[in-house]
Homo-oligomer: 135 residues x 2
DNA sequence: GATAACCTTAAAGTCAACTATAAGGTCAAG
DNA sequence: CTTGACCTTATAGTTGACTTTAAGGTTATC
């Protein structure tokens, strides 16, 4: 079976060498076999594992959460737990969207009111909106 | 005119002493007067300034951006510049909402498909969705 | 006059997720 | 047999917004 050096794995996955070593230290990537000269040698499926990590990051999962998912996979664990992790993430994402939407609403309303003319003192709508908001 | 110690200002504003000193170092709060014993003494309106900072942070402004706004206010500067800062922020917020909404859509669709039953190996929809997505 | 509750500074630590640097070992090409 | 491209480890630096720690000075109270 063909194996990969860390540089080759980096090329194929688009993840920097140092990041790969970092993931190993953080237990996201398993420690690979070594050559006589102590060089890392990865199996081909290491590429897919790295890409899983990259994608999960794009989805907003933290490395801690990704590690949980990977441990479940490695242990051939319970699908219900993976679902729970994803549900928590979905909940957090919806909260973030809500928070940002509230800000978006107030800020765009404020900007619509603001001509952008005149000096700051006495009643710049932007400053007043920030200063005067409650929550 | 009544003045405040840093502890009193902290109480009234809800901002920790060390954070207040940090804002001073970062030029968000002006250096206040000192007593003979070198204790800081704040004017009452320091409370409002701190609350402006807190609110702006809640809106997602960074300290750099808040400093810009405060400098504009202090200099009684151009309202157009404040508007520009707010417009940039609004743009960034809308980008974030778009990004999160895409994730939300895929994740909620995936979760709807997932019964949460069975083992991880071979076809857990969550894992497959993360592993197989393009972008 | 001692104890506690304040205040002062400077420097280091925190979190996440790496990146960069230093100091060296290995391997293929010419 | 040397040059350069790769690999190794450990340690330090990055960003943002602080918090924590250390080591001390001041003020109010008993």
């Amino acid at each position: 079976m063909q194996t990969l050096s860390i540089g080759e794995l980096s090329e194929l996955s688009g993840v920097a060498n140092q990041a790969i070593r970092f993931y190993e230290k953080e237990k996201l990537m398993p420690a690979p076999q070594r050559t006589e000269a102590n060089y890392r040698r990865y199996p081909m499926d290491a590429v897919a594992r790295l890409q899983f990590i990259v994608h999960a990051k794009q989805w907003g999962f933290t490395l801690d959460e990704i590690r949980e998912l990977l441990i479940l996979q490695d242990a051939n664990g319970d699908r219900a737990q993976a679902k729970r992790i994803a549900e928590e993430k979905l909940h957090k994402i919806r909260e973030q969207i809500k928070h940002l939407s509230r800000i978006e609403a107030v800020l765009s309303r404020t900007l619509a009111e603001c001509t952008g003319e005149g000096p700051m003192q006495e009643g710049c709508p932007i400053v007043e909106a920030i200063a005067g908001q409650e929550e």
